[in-house]
Symmetry: C2
Subunit: 399 residues, 2 copies
């Protein structure tokens, strides 16, 4: 697998800021205040370690963006100088004065102290016990409105650059999953095998990108591939541990490769040793449910209908009681993003959305059965971006 290069750069961030400003205009807002680490990365490309120290990106409708940072991130702001010439730093959190007084000052300097402000949150979140006044208290003469709907809508429809990164992730995930698959055998533990396969695939990613590969998330690795196995797979989200694999185990995998901050989703159900009739049957039902979900994706169709299609197929097959979660979710920068393929979702499938389709069947005493694939909504239908065999014969491991 060779890399095709960096896809998300300065031009992409300028285009995102332009779309945000259009949204501000529609809402008659004067500026956006972004407190979320992912929202800030999305709009500016500024990746930093979130801590107790608050950060806020201000995007005026009619002027250059500015950012409030702790002093220890000053050089990151300088790196972003083209985008963020007005960086303003404070010494430290908790500090001798509240850090976000710097935000109130910045908004005054920008003439926004009585403005209509859009925000992604009431204020900086509570990470590591951090406490700051909400924006409405910091700027009592401004009016603060949530722009979460607008930000989610921007992020949910991927650009050409985002899709290039997600396609590249999907290619490396196929490889990483193969490295995982071929290491699975009785006696090994999920922690060890996951780390071995992740390291092997990381070496390929680094060789493909050379020194250009950049981490965009603190503590992240380029590749995270692993699995949960055995009786605990009958729960959708077991925590896992050091249990050795045994013949007869059902194994639910994942492979995540991050390219420019983006990933596709790939999960498979593997069977260690020839399975019994109950497991073979459950595997077959699960595949049919996933096919029903993928077939239901089309531009203009409600996201809720995808979940309904899966549930209808499960009813027909008499396995609806084994469904324990919705059919999937949007993704890209985060593992889950709205909209959700869920009965209660109000959004429609739109071209450019990238959705996981992953109905699962969870059978106590038997195991969990879930494939997850990444599906792009196109102008005319859909395209499956993740590539890995899905059929029973390819996923039974001799043991």
């Amino acid at each position: 697998v060779s890399a095709t290069g960096i896809h998300v750069g300065a031009a992409e961030h300028e285009a995102r800021l332009a779309r945000l400003r259009e949204a501000l205009e529609r809402r008659e807002l004067d500026a956006a205040c972004l407190f979320g680490t992912v929202a800030i990365f999305y709009l500016s490309g500024f990746a930093y370690q979130p801590t107790e120290r608050p950060v806020c990106l201000v995007v005026p409708r009619d002027a250059a963006p500015a950012i409030v940072l702790p002093d220890l991130e000053r050089e990151h702001a300088e790196l972003l100088a083209g985008l963020v010439p007005l960086a303003r730093t404070y010494p430290e959190y908790p500090g001798e004065r509240p850090p976000l007084e710097a935000l109130a000052e910045l908004l005054r300097d920008l003439g926004l102290e009585r403005a209509r402000l859009g925000a992604d949150a009431a204020g900086y979140g509570g990470m590591y016990g951090s406490r700051s006044a909400p924006l409405a208290e910091l700027c009592p003469d401004a009016r603060v409105h949530s722009i979460r709907d607008e930000l989610e809508r921007l992020r949910s429809r991927k650009s050409a650059a985002e899709l290039a990164a997600i396609r590249e992730s999907a290619r490396f995930e196929t490889l990483a999953h193969r490295y995982l698959h071929e290491r699975i055998r009785p006696g090994v533990s999920e922690i060890e095998v996951g780390q071995e396969a992740s390291l092997a695939a990381t070496r390929v990613v680094l060789a493909a990108f050379g020194g250009d590969y950049a981490l965009n998330q603190w503590g992240a690795a380029p590749v995270h591939v692993g699995f949960k196995a055995g009786p605990a797979t009958a729960w959708p989200h077991p925590m896992g541990g050091a249990r050795p694999l045994a013949r007869g185990d059902v194994i639910v995998t994942w492979a995540t490769v991050t390219i420019d901050g983006y990933h596709a989703e790939l999960e498979r159900t593997l069977l260690l040793g020839e399975p019994d009739a109950a497991r073979r049957e459950a595997f077959g039902h699960m595949c049919a449910l996933q096919e029903a979900g993928i077939a239901a994706i089309a531009p203009g169709r409600p996201c809720a209908e995808v979940d309904r299609a899966v549930r209808a197929e499960a009813e027909r097959r008499g396995v609806a009681a084994a469904l324990r979660h919705h059919a999937g979710h949007s993704l890209g920068l985060e593992l889950h993003e709205p909209p959700y393929l869920d009965l209660g979702e109000t959004s429609l499938c739109e071209p450019g959305m990238v959705l996981s389709v992953e109905p699962g069947l969870y059978l106590p005493g038997i195991g969990g059965f879930r494939h997850s694939d990444t599906v792009l909504v196109t102008e005319t239908g859909s395209e499956v971006l993740s590539r890995y065999p899905r059929d029973f014969d390819a996923l039974v491991i001799d043991a």
Copy 2:
């Protein structure tokens, strides 16, 4: 290194609940509502993957705890049945009705709909775009008060069981850091060497604990050891990447081993090849600053004084401008926890607190210099829990 076993079990959680109830009594509150993943793990031992799906642990002052969960976590609640017999699940998020209506119902069933409630947050946080009404809206007849001060105070003074886990983490971190140290040489990249050393140390942890080792955090690994290197270390929080190491690099490491959810902190500054005079001098200043910080820790002394002691030493040495952050922070379940060793901190050092001491000097064009050690506040003074050579000769790597 051999493991000494599991330290944090049901008796510890009962003791924590008892201390929380004492705090509720002092505040004249009827129950606590906990939305935070770490707060819930701390009080109940319930570890789960936080997602868009809200979770809330309710701890009445005079009755057994209860929990609101998505259906997919039902079995986790059953596992915790001794502690949480009143688990109440909702189908899914976003779902056909708001998930936290289940919380309002639970509080009604517990007779708490007009109670005085203590909470760790206004409501469930916004992870993955999740949106729920705040507690005050869900229960309009209740009065909601923050108990963040009380929770932080409980967590900041570690119990004997917590200290046993942290001491065990520190022992394995010494080993993991040694594995990292011996792999560092010109030409290798931080991503690859960090993963190799983490895997090697993980194998030792798994061998020591056998099948008993449990992951308490989704996506976490038992060992996370790595470093940042070269010019970017002149920033306290570079994001890192695939750059190959070069002779002359300053290297700032970290080693984190998680035992029962807890870790100690260990960071060292390594020098790849005999350093020049500027780097040798900066290394010496940094060591002296850290010694001043450690010496300033004593029960009853303000946390702010530790930061002041470091800054005074930096002034004496003429390097105060190269300080870019406070002297350290509490830790245990999270990488940073309050209180902070910061000029603006109002807490005192108290016996049982576990604090990192890690003043850093950041010199553009030269590099970053930071050791971090984990210091326990005792009844009479302090004890350094992390063990690794700190001196220049031990930390220069022949190259």
